[in-house]
């Protein structure tokens, strides 16, 4: 059950993040201001991809809650970081982000650290 919950968390998180990143980049950086952020909650209900991403987030959230109850917080949180690899690859190929050697090396270091934390 622990591993089923963990896979659910990873897949739902990756999907949710891709949808969010795609939609928010399209919206533009004006929303990163105090007045812009106030508009985000209403925006969520108007943008199709954001609605979908919130559904994915809800799945990952409830699965995470069940996961954290049956394992430890210091396992559950780092273990769900398996989504890192999946998401970085998808960000490169689906979102067209530039993942250069420095960023790729940084992601791998972070991942290595997260795995050590999970033990």
């Amino acid at each position: 059950m622990t591993w089923i919950l963990l896979s659910l968390v990873v897949v739902a998180t990756a999907l949710s993040d891709l949808l969010q990143s795609y939609e928010m980049k399209k919206t533009g950086d004006q929303v990163a201001t105090a007045s812009g952020m106030a508009k985000i909650p209403a925006m969520i209900f108007h943008k199709r991809y954001l609605i979908l991403s919130i559904l994915c987030l809800a799945v990952s959230f409830f699965a995470f809650m069940a996961l954290v109850q049956r394992t430890t917080l210091s396992f559950a949180v780092p273990a769900s970081a398996a989504s890192f690899v999946v998401e970085t690859i998808l960000a490169r190929f689906v979102l067209g982000e530039y993942v250069g050697p420095r960023r790729a090396a940084g992601v791998l270091l972070v991942l290595g650290g997260v795995v050590l934390l999970a033990r």
């Binding site: 993040d17 891709l18 969010q20 990143s21 928010m24 980049k25 399209k26 919206t27 533009g28 950086d29 004006q30 929303v31 990163a32 201001t33 105090a34 007045s35 812009g36 952020m37 985000i40 909650p41 969520i44 954001l50 919130i54 987030l57 959230f61 809650m65 069940a66 954290v68 109850q69 049956r70 430890t72 917080l73 210091s74 949180v77 780092p78 970081a81 890192f84 998401e87 970085t88 960000a91 979102l95 067209g96 982000e97 530039y98 993942v99 250069g100 420095r102 960023r103 940084g106 992601v107 270091l109 972070v110 991942l111 290595g112 650290g113 997260v114 795995v115 050590l116 934390l117 033990r119």
Partner: protein
């Protein structure tokens, strides 16, 4: 700290303001998520029923004050992160917010008395080294600010 108002909402942010804002949003998100997770863990661990298949157990656990507080913090964190994703790449935001994993291990040991192994320091150092590397890369590679507004906002990504 950047000034938190835009003079002309149709114009995009100046480059210097963008970077400062990105760091501010990163810090806010990491703290909100760490404290939110702590509240959720505390609340669900002190809840007598096992969560999993039963939706009623989930409804009942929502009434726990710690769980409620945790959910409120998570909702604010979601809004902050959406704003963050508008200014920075997903492959930049993800590793940068990994500092939250270090906080989770720290909170787990301090507040929940979870046993954190000795190698967690090695993990912490690796995460910070990785974050330092990623922070040296460009925050946003799919969009330049001049393309932000106007009708082709969604198309520039395809042209790369």
């Amino acid at each position: 700290m950047p000034e938190l108002e835009v003079t002309d909402p149709s114009r995009s942010l100046p480059a210097a303001g963008r970077a400062a804002r990105t760091y501010l949003l990163l810090a806010a998100f990491v703290l909100l998520r760490a404290f939110g997770n702590l509240c959720l863990a505390w609340g669900t661990k002190h809840f007598p029923e096992t969560l999993g298949g039963n939706p009623w157990a989930y409804l009942r656990v929502l009434l726990n004050p710690f769980v409620t507080l945790g959910i409120v913090m998570m909702i604010v964190a979601i809004v902050v992160r959406l704003a963050l994703l508008a200014v920075a790449d997903l492959s930049y935001v993800l590793p940068m917010t990994a500092i939250g994993y270090v906080l989770a291990a720290l909170f787990g040991s301090v507040f929940l008395h979870e046993v954190v192994s000795a190698q967690h320091w090695t993990g912490t150092v690796l995460i910070f080294a990785g974050v330092a590397l990623v922070s040296s890369t460009s925050q946003n590679t799919t969009q330049n600010t001049t393309q932000l507004h106007g009708n082709s906002a969604g198309k520039e990504r395809k042209s790369r």
